[in-house]
């Protein structure tokens, strides 16, 4: 009855109308595809192909390794030309291993088999198929979908929530997908519901997407799936916020949604699941929003994974002016790209080329303790206090203030009148804490190793001593016997 109102949040200008007017277009095949082996959270995939191999569309080219990982499939048929390092779409700009694939233009499918009558199958089988298709969270977090589905099935969940929030400004890929492929999303939702054995499914869509909401409601009619409108407020697409808005449940700090009987997936992930189960098609392409005032034409494109951002922009748009900043993902949480020579990966929801006016760069000035960040923080933290502690080098104090609950949404940085890079500070502190923990673990291990070695060295010395003593005793005994033989008297 007393539904607690959501904390914090900001209302950045959407700029959605730049790219949501036209239908999704299909990008033709580029000259070369660069398939990154790290397109997901977790361990990188292991390549299964050699240079010179011919692969067919949808063929597995890199297998997942470890518990949390995802395989990679060939987006088209062609020849593997290289297995080398290439700049990763990552804030560090570090290289990642990529498989270079030269398309042969035939676009010839590998043998694929859809799952017939999926609702009669074991839910575990659906999860396994989703994992084998390389599906990851397409909202941008790229957590392997099968791992999430599998663990939810194990713990048992009541509600499956599909995230159609798309609260990041500029991005409209989910908006267009919901308008154009609502049936496939609903089908995917039903399949996922079966996979986790959830009792109900709720789809949350921000009220700045009325067309998408209408299409989804029409598609969901009669399926028992609820499609609900949620207020537009950043970060509504964040798991904890959307869950609270839709169900009234506030997820406890540092807990997984599954612990509260919930599991959340993106709408685009649901569509990918439907494609995999019904058509046997693995995840080999995704919808990418091209936007930003620096581009000539904005819009949404279905792009094969591994296409370079530069190839996409050269084909689809071109520049009006020199972009001041290139971003992969949304402007709030996306990553700044060093250049456009990076491949599109499973988590690339958008490529933004922003002008000087759009990013409005200002120099950071001292914090005036206005506490706007405190009002904006959706997690109820004190960004100004945490930042002050981190700046004087006391990351533990920031940790005590709840640093690990920070979701990095950027609402504080957005609202800060002093233009302080608050999220950057928090990211740095999180890395620093993780590093310290790692060092402490290594120190413990070193102590154990050093102690074991000392014990071993001491034991070996003792054993040698004993051996020598035994030999000496044997020699003395022998000498005594010989002496006794010499002097029988």
């Amino acid at each position: 009855m007393f539904k607690q109102a959501l904390r914090g949040g900001v209302h950045p200008s959407g700029f959605k109308e730049l790219s949501n007017q036209e239908a999704i277009k299909r990008f033709p095949l580029p000259d070369t595809l660069y398939l990154s082996l790290q397109q997901h959270l977790g361990a990188p995939a292991t390549p299964l192909v050699k240079v010179g191999d011919r692969v067919r569309k949808g063929q597995l080219v890199a297998a997942s390794q470890g518990m949390i990982s995802a395989p990679v499939h060939a987006p088209t048929s062609g020849r593997v030309t290289a297995l080398a390092e290439h700049t990763a779409p990552h804030p560090s700009g570090l290289p990642v291993l990529v498989i270079s694939l030269e398309p042969d233009g035939l676009d010839e499918w590998d043998d694929i088999e859809p799952v017939s009558d999926p609702f009669a199958r074991d839910p575990q089988e659906i999860c396994t198929r989703v994992g084998a298709a390389g599906i990851v969270g397409l909202g941008g977090a790229t957590f392997p979908a099968a791992v999430k589905l599998g663990s939810s099935l194990e713990t048992g969940v009541e509600t499956l929530i599909l995230n159609g929030g798309e609260c990041e400004p500029y991005l409209t890929c989910d908006d267009r997908l919901m308008r154009e492929k609502a049936d496939e999303i609903i089908r995917g939702a039903c399949l996922m519901q079966h996979a986790v054995q959830a009792k109900e499914v709720i789809i949350g869509i921000e009220d700045n997407k009325p067309e998408a909401l209408e299409k989804m409601q029409a598609a969901a009619a009669g399926s028992g799936i609820q499609v609900k409108s949620v207020p537009s407020r950043y970060p509504m697409g964040s798991e904890k916020q959307l869950v609270q808005q839709l169900t009234g449940i506030e997820l406890p700090a540092r807990s997984r949604a599954a612990a509260s009987g919930l599991v959340m997936h993106n709408v685009a992930t649901a569509r990918a699941v439907a494609q995999t189960i019904d058509q046997g098609r693995p995840l080999i392409s995704r919808i990418v929003t091209l936007s930003g005032q620096a581009l000539t034409h904005q819009g949404n494109w279905e792009v094969p994974l591994g296409t370079l951002a530069s190839q996409l922009i050269n084909y689809a748009s071109g520049f009006d002016c020199k972009p001041a900043r290139l971003i992969m993902g949304g402007p709030m949480m996306g990553i700044q790209l060093p250049n456009l020579h990076v491949p599109i990966i499973k988590g690339s929801s958008g490529i933004l080329a922003l002008t000087e006016e759009e990013i409005n760069p200002t120099q950071p000035s001292p914090c005036v303790r206005c506490a706007r960040c405190v009002q904006a923080c959706p997690m109820g933290l004190l960004p100004l206090e945490m930042a002050a502690n981190i700046r004087k080098g006391d990351v533990e104090a920031a940790q005590e203030l709840g640093l690990s609950d920070c979701v990095g949404c950027g609402a504080c940085s957005y609202t800060c009148p002093a233009s302080l890079p608050l999220v950057h500070l928090f990211n740095y502190a999180k890395g620093e804490l993780a590093n310290r923990e790692k060092e402490a673990r290594k120190m413990k291990k070193t102590q154990v190793l050093a102690q074991r070695r000392e014990e071993r060295v001491a034991r070996q010395a003792r054993e040698r001593e004993e051996l020598l003593a035994a030999r000496r005793a044997a020699a003395a005994k022998k000498a005594a016997e010989e002496a006794a033989e010499d002097n029988p008297s």
Binding site: P44, L94, Y428, A434, N435, A440, M443, L449, A450
Partner: protein
């Protein structure tokens, strides 16, 4: 027979008693602080601080002869822990923390002499006579002992380059 056994047994007993008394009377008090500091140290007895063992270094640090930043393999983490323990301010500039390093064996120069793995305090090197030696990155503390004994100078401490998995954000300049 008894003439030789009794004096020797008596001498042994007397000397033992003397040693027992001496160990009580001349017992060297080790401060608790030193013991506590030693617990924070890696315990590899690498000798990089100029002391023969981690125990001796902890002792020297406890009486103020060494700054908290004395332990090179311990790096910043250990220095901070010691400074906390002693309640002194940490002079971070004295810390020669060049970032994490690992020993690396140049495979072209290694002759398989086995000297390095015999001195490694954490058993981080595997090898056998006239076989190529390798370093276990997980166990290596970059203490440099192997570097000193290598006759062909094929072991070097190289800085660890960050990968996508280990990279972390640097501190923003403000």
């Amino acid at each position: 027979m008894l003439v030789s056994i009794l004096p020797l047994a008596g001498l042994g007993g007397l000397l033992g008693l003397l040693l027992g008394v001496a160990s009580r009377v001349l017992h060297v008090e080790r401060s608790n602080v030193a013991v506590e500091i030693e617990e924070l140290l890696p315990g590899t007895q690498c000798g990089q601080c100029g002391n023969p063992s981690c125990g001796a270094a902890a002792e020297a640090c406890a009486v103020g002869e060494l700054p908290p930043t004395f332990c090179p393999p311990g790096g910043r983490a250990v220095a901070e822990a010691i400074a906390n323990k002693l309640g002194v301010a940490l002079d971070a500039s004295a810390l020669c923390d060049e970032g994490p390093k690992l020993a690396e064996i140049n495979e072209d120069l290694c002759i398989g002499c086995t000297r390095c793995y015999k001195v490694c305090p954490t058993d981080a090197i595997a090898g056998a006579a006239k076989q190529l030696h390798v370093v276990f990155a997980d166990a290596c503390t970059a203490c440099g002992k192997c570097e000193d004994v290598c006759p062909t100078e094929c072991i070097q401490l190289v800085p660890v380059t960050p990968t996508l998995q280990t990279w972390a954000w640097s501190e923003p300049t403000l």
